[in-house]
């Protein structure tokens, strides 16, 4: 095993050891579960761009996070935008993506609030 796969296996071992230690000591949580993190770039538009005073954000997420996970992170980080977030869609490249869409490292995702063209 090389590179990523080896890293994943080591993390798997580490996490199972942590679980065993927790079980043995009966305490929770001693150490948080260790996960591989990834970064995505989030593009912002209109009222959201203006509120956050930037056209894009870096968001760190656990590996294999979905759009749903991203929504939860954004809701926690920006509770004042929770309302508009509910009505927002997300897009990758030239396509809208669903809540089950799996994100990968370095992906560029667009936060699309309700539209008002025409």
């Amino acid at each position: 095993l090389h590179g990523h796969a080896a890293r994943r296996q080591r993390l798997g071992l580490l996490n199972s050891t942590l679980t065993n230690v927790r079980t043995a000591l009966g305490a929770w949580p001693i150490v948080k579960k260790v996960t591989i993190r990834m970064k995505i770039e989030l593009l912002l538009f209109a009222a959201i761009r203006q509120r956050l005073t930037t056209t894009s954000l870096q968001v760190e997420l656990p590996e294999e996070s979905t759009i749903s996970d991203l929504r939860q992170v954004l809701e926690r980080r920006y509770p004042e935008l929770a309302g508009i977030l509910t009505y927002s869609l997300f897009a990758v490249g030239p396509d809208y993506v669903s809540n089950t869409f799996v994100l990968t490292d370095q992906m560029v995702v667009a936060w699309i609030p309700p539209v008002s063209g025409g």
């Binding site: 209109a46 203006q50 699309i112 008002s116 063209g117 025409g118």
Partner: protein
């Protein structure tokens, strides 16, 4: 609020979803356009002309001064260019098929659009008029709910406001 209307991907602007498409009679179609320039309605109309058509509907959406008692000085539009062009082109192709159109041309302006000037123009032609009327109405409804373009209202009594109708997008699954 600065509301300058310059979107994230300004470099893609003034682009067309499809550059040029030749039709049977040698008529050139440009498809969907996003531009910071004033819309050239006559050129859009000419592109939708066809010897196969018995009807053409040209819809032009313009900046209105009064909205529910408040006075607007101008609108600014911004977009997600890559997604907006792709989405416009999908709608254009869907309309061509659904209403059996001869031609369909869509142009949307970005940046500041003063009172009375056009922010969107749609030209559709078809063999008979019912299809052209229906297609223009359907396309406008679709554009207003699906294409990632946003308008900012600049009010005369001060302030500016991005418009995000909470019902414009279907809730995701």
């Amino acid at each position: 609020m600065e509301g300058d209307g310059k979107g994230y991907e300004d470099h893609v602007l003034d682009g067309f979803a499809r550059r040029v498409r030749l039709y049977g009679m040698g008529v050139i179609s440009m498809g969907c356009q996003l531009t910071y320039e004033r819309l050239d309605i006559e050129s859009l109309r000419l592109r939708a002309e066809s010897p196969m058509a018995g009807a053409m509907v040209l819809f032009v959406g313009t900046t209105r001064r009064e909205t529910e008692g408040r006075t607007t000085t101008s609108l600014t539009y911004e977009c997600h260019a890559e997604l907006a062009l792709a989405e416009l082109e999908r709608l254009r192709l869907a309309a061509m098929e659904r209403f059996a159109l001869t031609h369909c041309e869509i142009a949307h302006r970005l940046g500041a659009v003063p009172i009375q000037e056009a922010s969107i123009a749609i030209a559709v032609s078809s063999p008979h008029r019912p299809a052209a009327f229906s297609a223009a109405a359907w396309l406008m409804d679709q554009v207003k709910t699906k294409v990632p373009i946003w308008k900012c209202e600049h009010w005369q009594d001060g302030g500016a406001e991005w418009i995000h109708p909470s019902t414009s997008l279907p809730l995701p699954p």
